[in-house]
Assembly symmetry: C2
Homo-oligomer: 514 residues x 2
């Protein structure tokens, strides 16, 4: 057995089931090793950002790490943006990066670069393998370091000779470090805050947004009067009939501050104290209105479910709460396509257990409210702001959940970054329906220009925020990679085509002309 | 005047003419500033790898730096792979990266990351701006640091408040440091080597491959018997009738070592001592056969033209050499499409002064030999091995040289990385003809698998090196972004369509079914 095979066997023994790969020459022994072991499915992406985003989506939906297989520094670099999102989502991911043979490292060959410097900003754990015999133990540690949900990105750099040289066999799985336990002091302090009868809001993130977390939240909310707010860009939130409906913290700082200003205290459960997405002149960094108390129940990486359940006990909340389990959907919209009608159409028609990957940017906003009472579904947002997450993340979610329909609710500007995802969806025949919102602009940047005081942009500023001239033809683009699609121009056609698309297996696309 | 405007005006005063941009919120003042100043053309790329690769291609053809405009760490990260190629090409590039406002940096907002750690592996010069008043001077230094050819990648990180806060005006241009002068000792030592009557080969790179450099090389070769070999992946080489025809150092180490083994001494002119592209088991890192002498005339970053001219003088070479100026082209090929017929077709039909960007990988090999006596042309190779250079680099070359025809000779696997380039070509109506070699595989990886001893790859290894299922439809893909294309299946159709494509302005594509 060589080092590569010891790696793959170790990962499989630790429960890893998928490898999202875009390999090169320095990964050939690992490519061959995938065939030597039955346990790990190999999924090819035609660009590394597809692989890392898919690993993120897979992790969000399965709670388990996938492998990525990437080619030296530049190949890894192509995957950084979506690893940035994975880091913010606290998704477990294990990156395997092939590197030059140890004895070739000093030659400064064309593809040589400082991989560790590239990897550090997105990796919670990094190791460069030193020998083939060390690969197995390093792999077991990498998978353990990645953990579950919440977890982290672990990066293992494997020189090619450490892949092809002889090794001693696979290593046993190592248990991940348990999530930090809830703090009794924190639970007591929050319980006191709740009893004080102030105006309370919970800001919920990470594991507070799982089914278990939300059930505990529902118990707490049945006992005390409080607002339930989720962070603006959750990694994943379970939603719909039977679960408490949450407000969403608004994106722009002035709106977020206003939303929080009706509170006396903000309880953080799996969330960090909220900050502005961007700094704006004459606006604060923190979104906490002046004079408000912030009390932390749990940090994002903590065992927030346990913290919420302990809090529910501490305040004597009911054991279980029955929330309305009959879905309430909006009517099918009619007329022009716009953010409101698109959101309503999706909320009206998405099947039970749908997975919504929302990178629809400005077009996506109304959907969240419209779908609060819809049938149960999972919702994923763009966690790190690195656009190009949507299509890959939807791809990985569909690999994780072959029995659920994934809907990639996608803006055009960000979709262009990683549209190679369509090809992987077609090859793997994944159940992904893409709703591509073609508004022919970086609309959010036009808003941001105005916010920066540039209300009459000049010719160049206009051209840099405009996606027309030429118009993108997304139906043709998807079809070039094997995904069939149609274009719609009004709500009636959208509803008709959406019903049709959701009923057939495999990937498809609806291009919405906004 | 704010910091952003002082930056753009400083860059324009220093001779910068183009900005390849994919901006976000933290770059809005810079976007607006582009309109406040006439001198700099703004070119939008729909993915950052397009922008950085275009800046590289622009620099190779113009000898001047372009700006890139990129959005924080993740946006920059998307451009790293092509900056890696630019670094290996020693292309001058000035990256502008917007960052969070200085007072927002501590908030760890979603898009925050360690930009310096990401930028260091590809940047010869990095600076984080500290205040709006410092922006202009920092910009002048960045442009000077980038230099000309050979130059380097300079990265300037500009917090958004340093863009919008008031500044004092533009800064005066700063002269770049002059290239290191040729060393008299080195010239004397090489002259002695040449006089010793040994079997000599010049390994030529960087400025040795410019017209001036090659004219000096021709003088030397007229005086002494020597082989002229260019590095395997030159940033740019001037070729064709009237210039000395060069051998090319083979890619695989065993072939390269064999090619050099007929020499006693290797003279390095603008090239590093050759090393293997990858380390292979039982192969050395260095490509210099045992016992051979290596003599350095000049390093890649030196003033190699001056060194070659001084050497020509030192050995009493003729003042000028008249090489055959009548082009010799291969015949138009007929029959099946393969690497040989495609190379012959391109060499037979490319117009005088064409710019060939060769990222055709395995399909590209025969072209170099077939085109040695063709009309004068510039040839660019994949310098750093980070695939996805071809289409962006061709795009930037066409911006630099609007009066020349650019031919993107492109493999399918690498083309997929940055095919968003087609959109920029269409918007800017650039004279780029893409010859897309569709062989439905990562053919080089299939070769590498065999070299690694995996002669009968398993199902997963096959699937990870295969681009079929589904087949990519490049004609449709290019058309979805506004570039017209046709598909050809034999040499006769290729020749007919190539003639037609080269005769019309604007971008087009020919998809070669191999």
């Amino acid at each position: 057995m060589n080092g590569a095979e010891s790696l793959i066997r170790t990962a499989a023994a630790a429960g890893v089931e998928v490898c999202f790969a875009n390999p090169g020459t320095t990964e050939m022994p690992l490519v061959a090793a995938l065939d030597a072991c039955d346990g790990i499915r190999a999924v090819l992406g035609l660009f590394e950002g597809v692989c890392t985003g898919a690993a993120d989506g897979y992790a969000r939906m399965s709670g388990k790490p996938a492998l990525t297989l990437l080619h030296l520094g530049p190949g890894f670099a192509n995957g950084i943006a979506n690893l940035h999102n994975a880091r913010r989502a606290r998704s477990p991911v294990v990156n395997l990066i092939g590197d030059h043979a140890t004895w070739h490292a000093g030659a400064d060959a064309p593809l040589a670069s400082d991989i560790v410097s590239l990897a550090r900003p997105v990796s919670g754990w990094i190791r460069s393998v030193r020998s083939a015999k060390a690969v197995a133990a390093d792999t077991a540690e990498a998978v353990a370091a990645a953990g579950g949900f919440p977890g982290q990105v672990a990066t293992l750099i494997i020189p090619s000779d450490c892949q092809w040289d002889p090794a001693e066999g696979a290593a046993k799985p190592i248990a991940s470090a348990p999530l930090p336990k809830p703090s009794d002091t924190a639970i007591r302090r929050v319980a006191e805050t709740l009893r004080a009868g102030e105006r309370i809001g919970f800001l919920l993130g990470a594991a507070a947004l799982t089914e278990q977390g939300l059930n505990a939240v529902a118990r707490i909310a049945a006992k005390v009067d409080c607002r339930l707010i989720c962070e603006t860009f959750p990694a994943r939130i379970e939603r719909g009939a039977g679960l408490p409906a949450l407000e969403r913290l608004p994106y722009f700082p002035e709106q977020a501050i206003e939303a929080l200003s009706a509170l006396d205290s903000i309880v953080l459960a799996g969330a960090k104290s909220p900050v502005a997405f961007f700094g704006y002149a004459r606006m604060p960094s923190s979104l906490v209105p002046e004079g408000r108390k912030v009390v932390t129940l749990s940090e994002p990486a903590d065992d927030t479910v346990a913290a919420l359940e302990a809090l529910a006990e501490a305040i004597g909340a009911p054991r279980a709460v029955a929330l309305p389990s009959k879905p309430v959907r909006p009517n099918r919209p009619t007329g022009k396509l716009n953010a409101a009608t698109v959101g309503a159409a999706l909320a009206a028609l998405m099947p039970e257990n749908a997975i919504i990957m929302d990178e629809a940017a400005t077009t996506g906003l109304p959907f969240f409210g419209a779908s609060a009472g819809a049938p149960r579904h999972s919702y994923m947002a763009l966690t790190g702001g690195a656009i190009g997450q949507g299509l890959p993340c939807a791809t990985g979610a569909a690999v994780a959940c072959p029995d659920r329909r994934v809907i990639a609710f996608q803006a055009d500007g960000s979709g262009m970054y990683t549209q190679q995802s369509f090809w992987t969806q077609a090859r793997e025949q994944l159940n992904v329906t893409t709703l591509l919102c073609n508004n022919r602009s970086y609309r959010i940047l036009q808003v941001e220009l105005a916010r920066a005081g540039i209300t009459e942009p000049g010719r160049k500023a206009k051209s840099l925020t405009d996606l027309s001239n030429p118009d993108l033809d997304w139906t043709r683009l998807a079809r070039s990679m094997g995904v069939p699609g149609v274009r719609v121009e009004d709500s009636e056609s959208l509803c008709r085509e959406l019903e049709r698309a959701l009923a057939v297996p495999g990937p498809n696309l609806i291009e919405l002309m906004l």
